[in-house]
């Protein structure tokens, strides 16, 4: 008991300067503000749609006209070219080939993209932490089985696995017992992305759990009669928080990029539901006549991912000021995971 109390106090002492360091970082502040603006704007999508643009994300306006600078213009011209950005309430960022308002779709699409990224990251973290904790703590056969499964998942080309799962599920939907998930549901990209990234997170967690379990405080907890589950959740998990915190930003950033990639290949969000990835897919074919269709969602993705990455960098620096700056940690953990793959499943390191 006393040991836990002391450690708690210890942790507290360490976390406060981390927070202070984070608050002092100007880049982190800028990124946090940018992110808040993006998320806020996407959440306010219905407000923009109802009060400014006056149209929904899936409403076509093929034969409508809009007044720009006192001049009446077709939303979609006779030869099928949509209007570019008007920089005013209606068609602020122009229209797409169906005459849908790009700004409205961008905001609603952002909701979907961000929702998928956040939910997939949460799912991935839960699965990966559970798998890593159990494998690292239990060792033996359980570890061998989990590690082998992670090895197989790891050897799958991420995009192919994601696309194969995504296409197959989007076609047929998914049925787990009484729960039926429709093929066009956002749950499918969430599931796919959540699962695909599991080994990248579970392997480092497993390694850390392995070394933590040898520490005295774990022995102490066990001797005082704590069950395995209690040791894992009460003793190991709190010591993994900074590792998990570092992974959050990396996961969210990569999940946004993977959603875009899957939707671009037709294996993510299904039309007409907007997402940044599907919007890029629609826009790429029309780059010649209507570049705004690909530029707007692409810039939204870059801005969001950049903000998340910057924030992630700052969190990492704040947690460990001596760590080398930036993303190299991602590569390090990849290299670390790769070297872990070197010890065959079940072998002790």
């Amino acid at each position: 008991m006393l040991r836990t109390v002391l450690e708690d106090r210890d942790r507290e002492r360490h976390s406060r300067p981390a927070l202070r360091r984070l608050r002092r970082s100007r880049a982190a502040l800028a990124a946090a503000i940018a992110l808040a603006l993006i998320v806020g704007a996407c959440l306010a999508a219905p407000l923009w749609a109802d009060h400014v643009a006056g149209t929904g994300p899936d409403t076509n306006h093929l034969t409508d006209t809009v007044t720009v600078d006192g001049e009446e213009r077709d939303v979609v011209s006779i030869d099928g070219v949509p209007i570019g950005p008007t920089w005013q309430g209606r068609y602020f960022l122009g229209a797409d080939a169906n005459g849908r308002d790009v700004m409205v779709r961008l905001l609603y699409g952002g909701r979907n993209s961000l929702l998928i990224a956040l939910a997939a990251s949460a799912l991935c973290l839960v699965l990966a932490v559970a798998a890593g904790l159990v494998a690292g703590y239990m060792r033996g056969f359980v570890d061998a089985a989990i590690s082998a499964a992670l090895d197989v998942l790891w050897s799958f080309p991420v995009v192919i696995l994601g696309v194969a799962l995504g296409v197959a599920l989007a076609l047929g939907g998914l049925q787990i017992g009484p729960v039926v998930i429709d093929g066009g549901s956002l749950l499918i990209p969430i599931l796919v992305i959540g699962v695909v990234f599991v080994p990248y997170v579970a392997r480092p967690i497993r390694a850390q759990a392995r070394s933590l379990r040898e520490r005295e405080f774990v022995d102490a907890a066990r001797v005082s009669g704590a069950s395995s589950a209690r040791v894992m959740l009460g003793e190991l998990l709190p010591n993994l928080t900074s590792t998990i915190a570092v992974f959050v930003a990396l996961l969210v950033a990569n999940a946004i990029l993977l959603e875009a990639a899957l939707s671009f290949l037709g294996a993510g969000v299904q039309p007409p539901t907007p997402s940044w990835g599907t919007m890029i897919r629609d826009g790429v074919d029309l780059l010649t006549s209507a570049p705004h269709l690909a530029l707007a969602p692409g810039i939204a993705v870059v801005a969001t991912v950049l903000a998340v990455n910057t924030l992630g960098d700052a969190v990492r620096d704040a947690l460990d000021p001596r760590a080398p700056v930036g993303l190299e940690r991602e590569a390090e953990s990849r290299a670390e995971a790769a070297s872990r793959a070197r010890t065959p499943a079940g072998g002790s390191s």
């Binding site: 050897s155 296409v167 047929g172 990639a261 930036g326 790769a338």
Partner: protein, 315 residues
């Protein structure tokens, strides 16, 4: 050492079997995934569907089907469900294009990443270093297919500085070959190269603090020589094992996203078309092709590391 290598190779084979089975399963247990129905088309009668089912063996147990498919794969008899092309032949014919794409990009991101990272470390904290660090963060945040589409459109189509997609075999015209691949290489290399530059920068900064660097400087050799002989060599090592992994990731990922945009018609584009039509033999073939690179390059990295550092094999 030999035992370690043997064990590693056995594990490699097992992983490949598991990957192939999982791919097969994904496409076969999904509802509405019945290939016979899709092959027969819309206006098919039940009898036609049944005939196709029997013909292709879809009515047999999944394990039997899997075993037969794998046997066909290894005897190069596997054909696409829809085009009836031989999958193995198609992959073999297209692989030079994908490998040319991946190898060129890999060289570019390694050389670029090392050079930029080295520069950043030597100028650490300066304005140039901070600018490069910020640019690298932007580069890793860009979706590669979006960048590919923009580059192809603005630099290729509008500016006319690059050909408008397509591939020219090296043997036909080496210069034209490179001209067609330059843009795809650059696009693929940008994000990974940016990541490498950041790893390299951190490694160099670490190495610069080592005693042997101080000793080398104390001996009086020029800074240039210190950097090239002592710092560069030791900082580059961790990147080498990553290199293989990222190369494999490009074969099984980046290529699928980028090849169609530049119309390179390699294995990646083949994969994209197979995925679109749920053509199981095609997807299975391409997945194994890519997984093979991932698993083999992983194993090579392990064995090389074990050879360099005997402790790895003993664990």
């Amino acid at each position: 050492m030999t035992r370690f290598a043997a064990r590693r190779l056995a594990a490699m084979a097992l992983v490949l079997v598991a990957v192939s089975f999982l791919t097969f399963l994904i496409f076969n247990v999904i509802p509405n995934g019945d290939p016979a129905v899709r092959m027969a088309g819309r206006a098919a009668t039940d009898a036609q569907i049944e005939a196709i089912r029997e013909d292709w063996g879809f009515d047999r147990g999944i394990l039997v089907q899997y075993a037969e498919t794998m046997e066909k794969l290894f005897t190069a008899d596997l054909v696409s469900y829809f085009t009836r092309d031989n999958v193995v032949d198609e992959i073999v014919a297209r692989s030079p294009r994908t490998l040319a794409l991946a190898v060129g990009a890999a060289v570019l991101w390694m050389v670029g990443g090392v050079a930029v990272g080295m520069y950043g470390a030597v100028r650490a904290g300066g304005r140039a270093d901070r600018a490069v660090t910020a640019l690298a963060l932007v580069a890793v945040s860009v979706p590669v297919f979006w960048l590919a589409a923009l580059a192809s459109h603005y630099l290729g189509f509008r500016l006319g500085a690059f050909p408008n997609g397509g591939y020219v075999p090296f043997a036909e015209d080496p210069l034209d070959w490179a001209h067609h691949l330059l843009l795809p290489w650059a696009v693929l290399a940008l994000g990974i190269g940016a990541l490498y530059s950041r790893i390299m920068r951190a490694n160099v900064l670490d190495t610069l603090g080592e005693d042997y660097v101080r000793a080398a400087r104390a001996k009086g050799i020029t800074e240039r020589r210190v950097l090239s002989r002592h710092v560069l060599r030791n900082s580059i090592l961790p990147l080498v094992s990553l290199w293989g992994l990222d190369f494999a990731a490009v074969v099984g990922g980046g290529a699928i996203l980028v090849e169609s945009i530049f119309d390179l018609d390699g294995v990646g584009q083949y994969a994209a078309s197979g995925i679109d039509s749920l053509d199981v033999p095609v997807v299975l073939g391409v997945t194994l092709f890519a997984a093979f690179f991932i698993v083999v390059l992983n194993a090579i990295a392990d064995i090389v590391q074990a050879a360099l550092d005997p402790r790895v094999a003993e664990r």
